[in-house]
Amino acid sequence: MTKAQLNGQRTLRRKGLPIGWVFVAPFLFFYGVFLIYPAIQVCYLSLTNSDIAGQGGFVGLRNYVELMRDQDFWASVGHTLYFIVLTVVPNTAVGFFLALLVVRLKRLRLPILSAFFLPFVLPVSVVTTASLWILDTNFGIINYLFGTSIAWFQDPIWAMPAVAAVTIWWTVGFNMLLFIAGLQNISPDLYEAAALDGANALQQFINITCPLIWPVASLVLVLQLIAQFKIFDQVYLLTQGGPYNSTVVVLLYMYRQAFQLNRGGYASAVAIVLVVIMLMISAIQFRLLQGRRTK
């Protein structure tokens, strides 16, 4: 907006009733009651020994002290980090690879793009149902085709990689879409000029595509990091945290503490730790986005 336009806006502003507040009121009502209020409430709850109905007294920092010594909690942090290692970079890499494949197509582009993106619009329970069936130990088509008899979701070694693989199959279409947009923004003139200078396809890829796609790649990486930290649905539906609690992630640990062990206060402390980590990641994302804007 130019300065003249801003001035125009000011002179036309109406005095009296703050119409702005009327316009933001509906959103602000839902936002305040169902997001801001719980956000404040969860901080307070983490300092109490409340049950899940909210009954309980103030205990100070006792939950946090217990949390620091709680090996199961740290195990769940470890499982979450393991899941992140298995998904964030692979999911980004596969998304980039698929985007490279799709972006050069012409007539086949739309059907192929939809094939890769379709899983993303399916409900998580459909995705897990399909996975449990396809990766079934005895009757699953994967074990049949590869002549294996792996109990994908019951084997402590395979459970987490299997959940990660399912997650990538389900969500990679989103990353692919962002990469396609990024690739389309690279001017074809650059490739033409490079080709005239005698650069081959590989050189063009390394010296033009890679550096110019990096802003998108970093955005995808951070979005992935945020999304995978919140992992709950797939794990709950595929392994319920098993085998031997080897796939209990932070949110699942929080869920168990709150809704199965009736420890609302303690679970809130778990939630706070999660929030702190997420805010730190989001701060990085915000800076990345700001960088993109100013460019």
């Binding site: 602000l28 329970s125 399909a130």
Partner: protein, 276 residues
């Protein structure tokens, strides 16, 4: 000579891409194929890759023996209400943040960004307690209310409203139009495509939401499809045709919506990620 080699390479690449796409779709195909088999055929060895003749027994069983229509109704209702109010509130708020001057605007902008970063899962406990106190557990209100305020939609709409030349509004104000009329007669029609895109993305998201409905409902008639179908599965035990049939029914609306509104979904996803 060189040209020919490149075109062969291109052909191989395209072929590889098509094969990968088919492999990617295979799980979807396999679920549909399994749903059209009898239970004995699903576990036959070697597996039959094409269910012919198709057996609709699993679909009929699921329709007759589960409250799937009730769940459909619940999910349609909940998703439609969420989409309508979420888009409406976001449009109003975005208009104010983009075009109106008022005290506290900066504060709202900050609150939006903070809320955008908070993971919903971490709010589940106090939200559940709140719903419990309001007697909204196992009620539509309990599922719907926390999903209405979506900061992301506000941010996207604001970005689009910012791009509309301010003269449009100024001219309308001179003609004596109020802000409600300006929003509904100028800004909404001008940005129809992104609003439509965000509405479809919101609808698909609400339909697919698992975590919150799972937390706030547990009585069978109040479940949404993504939550309900998991309950049926544990009740059926090992019955691959039936669980597949219910999965097909559960994903039909979003899959069809995507295939019809493909361009809009793509646009919405990009806008939400801040790319366009």
């Amino acid at each position: 000579m060189k040209k020919k080699r490149i075109s062969t390479l291109a052909l191989v690449c395209t072929g590889l891409t098509v094969i990968m796409a088919l492999a990617w779709l295979f799980p979807v195909y396999w679920i549909v194929a399994t749903a059209l088999k009898s239970e004995t055929e699903t576990i036959a060895l070697p597996p039959s890759f094409v269910p012919f003749p198709p057996d609709f027994g699993a679909f009929i069983y699921v329709i007759q023996n589960s409250p799937i229509f009730r769940w459909y109704l619940n999910t349609v209702l909940v998703s439609a209400v969420i989409t309508f109010f979420s888009i409406f509130c976001a449009l109003m708020c975005a208009y104010a943040l983009s075009l109106l001057d008022f005290r506290g605007k900066g504060l709202i902008n900050v609150a939006l960004l903070v809320g955008f970063m908070l993971p919903f899962g971490a709010m589940a406990i106090p939200l559940f307690m709140l719903m419990n106190r309001l007697h909204f557990v196992n009620a539509y209100a309990g599922i719907i209310l926390p999903q209405i305020a979506t900061p992301l939609s506000v941010i996207v709409f604001k970005r689009f409203f910012d791009q509309v030349p301010i003269d449009f509004r100024n001219a309308a104000v001179i003609d004596g139009a109020g802000d409600f009329r300006i929003l509904f007669n100028i800004y909404i029609p001008l940005n129809w495509s992104i609003i439509w895109a965000m509405a479809i993305v919101t609808f698909i998201g609400a339909w697919n939401n698992f975590f919150w409905p799972f937390i706030v409902t547990n009585s069978t008639p109040m479940l949404t499809i993504p939550v309900g179908m998991t309950q049926v599965q544990s009740a059926y035990g090992v019955a691959f045709a039936k669980t597949s049939a219910i999965a097909v029914l559960a994903s039909l609306p979003t899959a069809v919506a995507y295939l019809i509104f493909q361009k809009r979904v793509t646009q919405g996803v990009m806008a939400a990620a801040g790319i366009k």
